[in-house]
């Protein structure tokens, strides 16, 4: 470890003033606070306490005003000589001479937010198709899986009887639609953010293993959260629909063109403001 004194003591800085004006101490805020409190405390003690509180409040206000008007009351504080030095115990590391931008611009490219949303929405269609197929083939009604989905969040769906679960309910349909699209878009966003992390086999990892793990998590906790719903779910079909979602979402995201990361650019550039001279070029800036 090496200690590097890298700056001179502050007291040696010729720009340092010898005295600094600071707000002067005063008791008036305390007097006003006490008066204010007693004003209220009088409601539960005695009228005389309220009167005392009113007097103190008035005195506090007057004293405070006189403290700041016509000119704020300040005191002069002498600057104390200080030998504070800015040092570090960080190891000195020989830096390999590389392009200066190599450190901070990683990752160089990533998928845009829209790629994740598109992937999520495409995945939601695949998932819905499989779920509805299940409804028609296995349950005998396309509305059955939709009512079940709504029951995740909508307690009226929980009250539906065995026969009602197979019929159309506008409110349940609307809520299921919103939940499905919202969650799909969010999971798609997550895919968009995570897929660049998987250097190899992005669709297998992000689109297959991920949904299986997600299904496993739901399998363990859905019975706790909603036993009724858990008892009616057909797990093989549910897992198949999750996998379909993952593969389609992952496929759509990967097909989008990655774009250069822009997190280190100024807000003006990211906002698309094209005004010459607004953002001065940085030294050695070679970013696209």
């Amino acid at each position: 470890m090496t200690t590097l004194p890298t700056t001179q003591p502050i007291s040696e800085d010729p720009r340092t003033p010898r005295e600094i004006e600071m707000p002067a101490p005063t008791a008036w805020p305390l007097v006003l606070a006490l008066g204010f409190t007693l004003l209220f405390a009088g409601l539960v003690t005695s009228q005389s306490v309220t009167v005392l509180g009113a007097v103190l409040s008035l005195a506090g206000c007057v004293g405070w005003f006189r403290e700041v008007l016509p000119r704020e009351h300040e005191e002069v504080v002498p600057v104390v000589p200080d030998d504070t030095r800015i040092t570090t115990e960080r190891r000195i590391v020989e830096m390999i001479p590389i392009a200066h931008s190599a450190r901070a611009w990683l990752p160089i490219k990533t998928y845009p937010v829209s790629a994740g949303v598109k992937g999520g929405l495409a995945g939601s269609v695949a998932m819905a198709v499989l779920a509805c197929t299940y409804g028609v083939l296995k349950a005998g009604s396309i509305w059955y899986p939709i009512n079940l989905l709504a029951a995740v969040d909508y307690s009226e769906s929980l009250k539906l009887g065995p026969t009602q679960l197979y019929s159309f309910h506008a409110d349940a349909f609307a809520i299921a639609l919103v939940v499905h699209i919202l969650v799909s878009a969010l999971v798609g966003l997550l895919y968009g953010a995570m897929l660049p992390m998987f250097a190899r086999h992005p669709i297998v990892l992000g689109g297959l293993i991920g949904p299986v793990l997600w299904s496993g998590l739901l399998y363990t906790c859905l019975g706790l959260v909603n036993p009724l719903l858990a008892s009616r779910i057909d797990w093989p079909w549910f897992i198949a629909s999750q996998v379909a979602f993952g593969i389609v979402a992952g496929f759509v995201v990967v097909r989008q063109s990655p774009m250069p990361t822009r997190e280190n650019l100024s807000f003006a550039i990211r906002a698309g403001i094209e005004a010459p001279g607004l953002t001065p070029p940085r030294e050695g800036d070679k970013r696209p």
């Binding site: 890298t6 700056t7 502050i10 007291s11 800085d13 720009r15 340092t16 003033p17 600094i20 600071m22 707000p23 002067a24 101490p25 005063t26 008791a27 008036w28 805020p29 305390l30 006003l32 606070a33 006490l34 204010f36 409190t37 209220f40 405390a41 409601l43 539960v44 003690t45 405070w64 700041v68 005191e75 002069v76 504080v77 600057v79 104390v80 000589p81 200080d82 504070t84 800015i86 570090t88 115990e89 960080r90 830096m95 901070a104 969040d153 909508y154 307690s155 009226e156 929980l158 409110d171 809520i175 939940v179 919202l182 969010l186 906790c221 706790l224 959260v225 909603n226 997190e263 280190n264």
Partner: protein, 557 residues
């Protein structure tokens, strides 16, 4: 002159009489002293609230125990909840914000120093007013001498017919007074951050602690006001014959619930966001890496600020709201987990690949990460309406929110104490005692609050005075109480560490952690004016730039 407090090397200063010292502290408008006053006052109430918790736990240690009467038990849980939220958690976080925000943005004081003092004294006197009820409310036979309506004070419990005497009035007035203090402090923090940043410190370069306190203060302005309005309405009901919350006269008890929880739930975020701020400063320094995803951390915080304003009625799933309202609040409750999860990922991302130093502040921070994650997961579970219907008002809920408040907020606060104590006092806290404190508290915490979920799942209701043996709760409650005692021992170790280190701790120097934000560039403790020369910053890590002029962050931001 406040300069009297400054120690000048090589200059002999006569020891001042204690009256003069007291006068200096009482009349101070210095943000650092007010910050310490806030923290000291909160620690005092932490001891009081802790004693109340121990009384509750002793009462529940065995079935059919009668350590205290049912009336005293009701007062204990009411005062414990009220004290811990309003007179411990809020003031201690305001104390840290008061001390740290100006020194982290290169300012000499808060924007309104006198308002700062006024706000502190209002908050403090509010707490004393609450506890004066132990003396002042005992004027009516059978009325009781302290608030006993729970910290939510649901209507109609607070109606004159059910709350005799003045105990509920003391509760109302104390929160009203301290609430005005909180609003004053929030205004001050916002004005300071927006107006007093040093040259070069753009919003994009502000330390995350400052950003998060800005969001927290904005939330305080929005959330305290409905609570204050509700308190005034309650006073009108009790004193002027109003019927806001009197269901028999056209009022609505549910109205109080809405007013309370539109304050109450965002309040959780008001308390946890400054703790996120501590984590965002401590974890990078002890991982020896800059924070991962700074812009996303800021965006996630703002997102939490907005979304958390729309989740309040998940506390009211069992009152009979319609299904649309239940669905809305369930969805928003789930949604607030998204930005919170982003933060957890980013803290882990910061640690990933870092050269982690397991000093005491970092130990508390790592424990925070795991415990807050679990607290968030049980929160998501309770956000599911059917689950909440089964376990609302059970000890599962008590375990959940103590996981947030103790496992999250208190652990983060302890980490902050160990991290910034050297700056506050110029002395290091003992690492040995710190590790004893950490491990004892960790064991006690998990023994208490992990186990507390189980009696909740087995049907033990919250606020129950005692219980029948043989329901499967007996051993669990005994272990929970033992865990509470272990936590008490840990807190005593902490207090001993604070006191011993103040007098005998190692000298800290200005920058004991080799950190990167501005407060570490000035002496410990800082002089009254903080900075002799106002600094100029060019990146988010100004001290890194000063320490590494060959490789400054400003080159990359």
């Amino acid at each position: 002159m406040s300069s009297n407090a400054i120690t000048v090397p090589g200059v002999q200063i006569d020891e001042k009489p204690w009256v003069d010292i007291l006068h200096e502290w009482v009349t101070t408008v210095d943000h650092k002293r007010l910050g310490i006053l806030y923290i000291g006052y909160a620690l005092l109430f932490l001891v009081v609230g802790g004693i109340e918790a121990i009384i509750i736990r002793i009462q529940l240690m065995y079935p059919h125990n009668d350590f205290v009467s049912p009336q005293v038990f009701n007062r204990m849980f009411t005062m414990h909840g009220t004290t811990m939220i309003f007179f411990v958690a809020m003031p201690i976080l305001f104390g840290f914000a008061n001390y740290l925000v100006p020194v982290m943005i290169g300012a000499r004081d808060m924007a309104f120093p006198r308002l700062n003092a006024f706000s502190f004294w209002l908050s403090a006197l509010g707490g004393f007013l609450l506890y004066f009820s132990l003396v002042g409310a005992n004027g009516l036979y059978g009325a009781g001498n302290a608030p006993d309506v729970g910290w939510w004070a649901y209507a109609p419990l607070t109606a004159p017919a059910f709350s005799l005497g003045h105990s509920s009035d003391y509760w109302t007035l104390a929160l009203l007074v301290s609430g005005f203090g909180s609003i004053g402090t929030a205004i001050n923090i916002i004005a300071t951050i927006l107006c007093l940043r040093c040259p070069g410190m753009t919003l994009g370069r502000m330390p995350l602690l400052v950003w998060l306190n800005l969001v927290m203060s904005g939330m305080v302005l929005i959330t305290i006001t409905p609570l204050s309005a509700a308190q005034i309405m309650l006073l009108v009901d009790r004193y002027l014959g109003g019927h806001f919350f009197d269901a028999q006269a056209g009022g609505s008890a549910v109205l109080w619930m809405h007013f309370f929880w539109i304050f109450g739930h965002p309040e959780v975020y008001v308390l946890i966001i400054p703790c996120f701020a501590f984590m965002s400063e401590i974890i990078p320094v002890f991982s020896r890496k800059p924070i991962f995803g700074y812009p996303v951390m800021v965006a996630a915080t703002i997102c939490i600020g907005f979304v958390s304003m729309s989740v309040w009625a998940h506390h009211m799933f069992t009152v009979g709201m319609n299904s649309y309202a239940n669905s809305f609040f369930a969805i928003t409750t789930m949604a607030v987990g998204v930005p919170t999860g982003i933060k957890i990922f980013n803290w882990i991302g910061t640690m990933w690949g870092g050269r982690i130093q397991f000093k005491t502040p970092m130990l508390f921070s790592i424990a925070f990460l795991f415990q807050f994650l679990i607290a968030g997961l049980t929160g998501i579970m309770l956000g599911c309406v059917p689950f909440d219907w089964q376990l609302s008002l059970s000890y599962f809920v008590v375990a959940h929110f103590h996981y947030v408040i103790v496992g999250g907020i208190l652990f983060a606060l302890f980490g902050a104490f160990y991290y910034w104590y050297p700056k506050f006092t110029g002395r290091m806290l003992s690492e040995t005692l710190g590790k004893w404190h950490f491990w004892l508290f960790l064991i006690g915490f998990h023994m208490t609050f992990d186990l507390m979920h189980i009696p909740g799942l087995l049907g033990m209701p919250r606020r129950i005075y005692t219980y029948e043996p043989g329901r499967g709760w007996d051993t669990l409650n005994l272990l929970i109480t033992i865990g509470a005692f272990i936590q008490t021992i840990a807190v005593l170790v902490f207090v001993a560490n604070l006191l011993i280190s103040y007098f005998k701790g190692d000298k800290a120097g200005n920058d004991p952690w080799d950190a990167w934000t501005l407060e570490w560039s000035i002496s410990s403790p800082p002089p009254a004016y903080n900075f002799a020369s106002i600094p100029v910053v060019t990146s988010r890590r100004p001290l890194w730039d000063m320490k590494h002029p060959e490789d400054p962050d400003s080159r990359y931001e």
